[in-house]
């Protein structure tokens, strides 16, 4: 990340990411940001929890450089205050290893939420105070209401509204709600030169 002259609360990268100076990004070399992503103060991303057991390279072929991405985040994501992103871990062939955590585009994660999912699709809204447990898979266009606990390994199909402890599908998104997930406008309200928040 190239740094501009140090001033303001945010580090704004060339690809348009706005990362709060008070966010804690551990193992930055293993964290991929797609661009135009906002990371608010006190967010923690555990890029240090990188996969230890590598997939076997095809026999005979030259070993490809190991993929060390621990957390991959797409474009126009928004991580509100005190969000924790933590790659999930499990025993794989007798050894404990972390697996990458992948997040798509236009994903909003609310304040205080902990995410240990295997993957989160595009256009996903996760409310505040949620826990997305290990290896959960959330598909595109899903809304997780505040305070939900999504159990480990749960699969949430597209167009679901999820709530509860444990989380379960409680409703279906209305067809017309799909572009409400767009986070372009929200992106503009944060940063060193923010626009006023939308009314």
């Amino acid at each position: 990340m190239s740094r501009r002259p140090a001033k303001g609360d945010y580090i704004e990268t060339d690809t348009g990411n706005k990362v709060s100076r008070k966010a804690v990004l551990v193992g930055t070399q293993n964290i991929m940001l797609g661009g135009k992503t906002v990371i608010q103060p006190e967010v923690m991303i555990r890029g240090d929890l990188v996969r230890t057991a590598q997939a076997q390279p095809p026999s005979g072929g030259s070993a490809a450089p190991p993929n060390t991405t621990a957390v991959a985040i797409g474009r126009y994501c928004f991580l509100a205050r005190t969000v924790l992103l933590r790659p999930p871990g499990r025993i794989y062939k007798g050894v404990f290893t972390y697996m990458p955590l992948r997040i798509g585009d236009h994903v909003f994660i609310g304040q205080g939420t902990v995410v240990q999912a295997a993957s989160i699709g595009n256009h996903v809204y996760i409310g505040k105070g949620c826990v997305i447990n290990e290896f959960a898979i959330i598909k595109d266009y899903v809304k997780v209401l505040d305070g939900t606990i999504v159990p480990a390994n749960m699969v949430i199909p597209s167009f679901s509204i999820v709530a509860g402890k444990p989380g379960r599908v409680v409703g279906e998104l209305p067809d017309g709600a799909h572009d409400e997930f767009e986070l372009r406008d929200l992106y503009k309200t944060v940063g060193n030169n923010p626009q006023p928040a939308a009314a």
């Binding site: 609360d9 709060s20 008070k22 608010q40 103060p41 928004f78 509100a80 205050r81 304040q111 447990n133 598909k139 595109d140 266009y141 606990i149 159990p151 480990a152 390994n153 749960m154 699969v155 949430i156 199909p157 597209s158 167009f159 679901s160 444990p166 379960r168 599908v169 209305p174 067809d175 017309g176 709600a177 799909h178 409400e180 929200l186 309200t189 944060v190 940063g191 923010p194 006023p196 928040a197 009314a199």
Partner: protein, 558 residues
């Protein structure tokens, strides 16, 4: 309900039966005179946020989830995301048969795993020895730690759980299947039928199904299409065939045939699927005395089970119910107005006519907000507006954004006093205005310079003038004087008795009913009428009118 204000709800015309039956998009002028009370109990069923609404281009009318007719496009399992063909649905039912289960205790997803031997040597001797293939296996809930071993169910293989489970009873004993019963009968034809307490719902259903199939095959009468009440009686095989064809959607293929109305006999014994209700509950009472409350299953747990059960040790893993993707038709003209792509993983639509692409989006904000905007590092937190003080004028900016590629003329009408017990005063300062067309997106860049042109700085809202205007939007100002919520301060209306009951839930929210009429000129559709409509100048006057509700804020209870 804790609604956050402000909000806008729109009324679907289906709540007014006269409009729907005549299929007329336009309401006549007299109808506009009627008042609409958003707090009336009936209104709950017709008010929707804009994103819930669809639009029929043929009827030129709003359609809502309540009035559209739905058709399944695809069935799929919400857990493994496999598509289930509708033929399987008929033969195997509406649950996933691919080892997808939910926890009967907490409803979380279940995982198949090997039962691990206890590694701590100080504990009890290992109950299970892992064999070379890794088994035995069980279902595990990672949310509440329930496992199928608690109900005595283990599996030899980690796959095909559905089949394995259909052969084991709780406790591990094999489940009696129709085939077992038949084999037994073949070996010992004189043996009495299975006692009722061993007949579970699956076996009973299998018996019943076999019984009716054999009845039906004995008679080949087919009189599909004949009314059921024509002296046949519901128990005649023909009537049954017809009912079955109605429910499986395979009607109309049989030929109309007048046959003798032969009455079919009903199930008589266990082997026909007859099961006598067991009214002796002494066994259950004894179990309840021993196990107490903790041994019973909760109501929520019981309603997810397919068999009627009472105790926790009778719970069985719940196979996932299938989910569907559905298309939606207009109730009046039957045209499809929303149709998703059939593929389970696709989120695209083949057809979708959203109301928000046809009618303006209405947003409300206070002209002088009391809440300070959230600091940048705390966004998107929204600061709640302070409650509205009674008898004090407030101004709200209401913005109409036009989604159409034509200019629209908007006319607003709103009662001077809101309906209901606590009647607030409302004035729309500019009830008639035009909103420009939704032209190319890049014009948006000019929006900000254009914004304030219609208004000089420091100037308050003026009657008859719009507040702000942009590319495809116009803002107007609404003046509101909230009513007092004190019961003793209600003005007397003639001889009417004043309702002095305490404040009901939601009554403190100031909701303004507003009638919106939009008029525009659209290109006549280059349609099937042939060359006559090729005239480029042909413009067609269109009009759409509907009620909406603006929830502007909460009134303070002082």
């Amino acid at each position: 309900m804790s609604l956050s204000t402000p909000y806008t709800y729109i009324q679907c015309p289906c709540s007014d039966q006269t409009v729907l039956s005549s299929g007329n998009a336009l309401s006549d002028p007299e109808e506009d005179e009627r008042t609409f009370d958003p707090k009336a109990p009936r209104s709950n069923y017709s008010l929707y946020p804009l994103e819930y609404l669809l639009y029929c281009e043929d009827c030129q009318q709003i359609r809502c989830p309540r009035c559209v007719t739905e058709e399944s496009v695809t069935y799929y399992c919400p857990n493994c995301l496999f598509e289930v063909p509708s033929s399987n649905l008929r033969s195997e039912g509406n649950r996933c048969t691919r080892s997808c289960y939910q926890c009967p205790v907490c409803i979380g997803p279940l995982q198949v795993g090997a039962i691990q031997p206890t590694t701590d040597a100080n504990l009890l001797p290992t109950q299970y020895q892992t064999n070379p293939t890794g088994g035995p296996y069980a279902l595990f809930c990672q949310y509440c730690n329930w496992t199928s071993t608690e109900i005595g169910i283990e599996f030899d293989r980690p796959s095909g759980i559905y089949n394995q489970l259909s052969k084991i009873n709780n406790g591990g004993k094999p489940k009696l299947t129709l085939r077992d019963v038949k084999d037994r009968r073949k070996d010992n034809p004189d043996e009495p039928p299975v006692p009722d307490d061993q007949v579970d719902a699956d076996l009973q259903f299998a018996h019943l199904k076999a019984f009716y199939q054999s009845r039906l095959s004995e008679t080949n009468t087919s009189i599909r299409g004949l009314p059921l009440h024509d002296g046949l009686g519901f128990s005649s095989p023909a009537a049954l065939t017809r009912i079955m064809s109605l429910y499986t959607g395979r009607g109309h293929q049989g030929r109309l045939q007048q046959g003798p109305a032969d009455i079919m006999r009903e199930a008589l014994g266990t082997n026909d699927g007859l099961k006598i209700a067991n009214l002796d509950e002494s066994k259950e009472i004894k179990k309840l005395i021993n196990g107490g409350w903790d041994a019973t299953a909760s109501l929520e747990q019981r309603k997810e089970q397919t068999e009627p059960i009472r105790f926790e040790d009778q719970l069985r893993p719940i196979a996932y119910l299938l989910r569907s993707k559905r298309s939606k038709r207009c109730p009046a003209c039957r045209h499809i107005i929303s149709k998703p792509e059939a593929k389970v993983t696709s989120t695209r639509f083949k057809i979708r006519l959203f109301a928000k692409s046809y009618i303006p989006t209405i947003t409300i904000r206070p002209l002088n907000p009391t809440a300070t905007p959230a600091p940048v590092t705390y966004r998107p937190m929204v600061q709640e507006e302070a409650p509205l003080k009674p008898h004090q004028p407030y101004h709200f900016v209401v913005t109409f954004k036009n989604p159409l590629f034509d200019n629209i003329k908007v006319t607003l009408a709103s009662p001077n006093a809101t309906p209901g017990r606590f009647s607030s005063r409302v004035t729309v300062l500019c009830p008639q205005f035009e909103v420009d067309a939704n032209t190319d997106m890049w014009d948006d860049a000019l929006k900000d310079d254009e914004k304030d042109r219609s208004r000089k700085a420091d100037e308050g809202p003026e009657v008859g003038k719009i507040w702000e205007k942009g590319r495809n939007w116009v803002s107007i100002v609404l003046e509101v004087i909230p009513a007092s919520l004190r019961i003793d301060q209600q003005p007397k209306k003639g001889n009417e008795k004043i309702d002095t009951s305490p404040l009901k839930s939601g009554e403190d929210i100031l909701e303004i009913p507003m009638f919106v009429r939009m008029e525009w000129e659209a290109d006549t559709q280059a349609d099937m009428d042939g060359p006559a409509s090729k005239d480029k100048e042909a413009r067609e006057k269109r009009e759409l009118a509907y009620w909406c509700v603006l929830g502007v804020g909460r009134i303070s209870q002082e």
